[in-house]
Symmetry: C2
Subunit: 171 residues, 2 copies
């Protein structure tokens, strides 16, 4: 299974921190890469810099239309929305090993996304956060398997009860 | 069990959207309320407005020091950090029914927080997002029970495979 995230409605100035959180959460939780609909070189650079230090391959491409990404994607398109079907129900429709493109909107999501998505899935029916929704969806999807996986990075954080422990490896 | 969130390092201008996500995710996932260390009336108003429409009691208090909140809190203080012990290990140390104060930092967290916390817990050992970390922690803690709970709000979203369905009730 490979999972990709498509972030739509990104406005570089207003959303820079929120979209960075979306992409870093996607990476940490095991996604292969992310697409963002508005060109944003600073965002690309920030996320790449994390991958360079902490390892793993995570591709970032900005300035791509969701319609184009969805059209050429060979797998299922999942749209996360507070209006969608229940999480357990949606997850039960996804087969093991299936490739997924997860569409994550900002404030206003065009109705075409609801129509194009193979599955509209909610992570709770309350207004909250697309970052939180993506995180829970991916944690459930992967049964937490990505959380402590070895990324072979130059820097690796070693879990500790108190304090900070970071191992550095030669590249 | 009641769960409270303490957001530290909040800078109203820079963090307004990220802290709003923290608080709305906390609310959606079943927390009783949140504290924020910097006074921010706009944030308070935004979160209260969601509660007024979508129901439930969720208290928000800004401009309170984490040291003071932690001192008077009768329960366990959990600090979420990428450096902390593994999630499953941390969760196994929490007893059912125990009240929790979950401390969620912004970029730099003072070392005193690591020392004061009863548990420093990581949600993966990769840099990502405090919103994502809080969401997964709470989803695991509550076994997803808050996601579709009835809040008795004026507005209730009914899960749907496609489109948006909202029921409005008389107050």
């Amino acid at each position: 299974m490979s999972v990709w995230v498509m972030r739509i409605g990104h406005r570089p100035q207003r959303d820079k921190r929120v979209t960075t959180h979306v992409l870093l959460a996607a990476r940490a939780l095991g996604a292969s890469g992310a697409f963002v609909d508005t060109r944003d070189e600073v965002l690309e650079e920030n996320v790449r810099s994390v991958s360079e230090r902490f390892g793993g391959g995570f591709s970032v491409k900005t300035g791509v239309r969701w319609e184009d990404v969805a059209k050429s994607f060979e797998g299922r398109v999942v749209h996360l929305t507070m209006y969608g079907q229940r999480l357990e129900e949606g997850l039960s429709k996804i087969s093991e090993g299936e490739d997924l493109l997860i569409v994550v909107g900002a404030e206003k999501v065009p109705f075409e996304v609801y129509e194009r998505a193979d599955l509209n899935i909610s992570v709770g029916n309350q207004p909250h956060s697309e970052i939180a929704a993506l995180a829970i969806f991916m944690d459930r999807l992967t049964a937490g398997s990505a959380l402590y996986s070895d990324r072979g990075g130059k820097m690796t954080v070693i879990p500790e009860e108190r304090g900070k422990r970071v191992e550095e490896r030669d590249p």
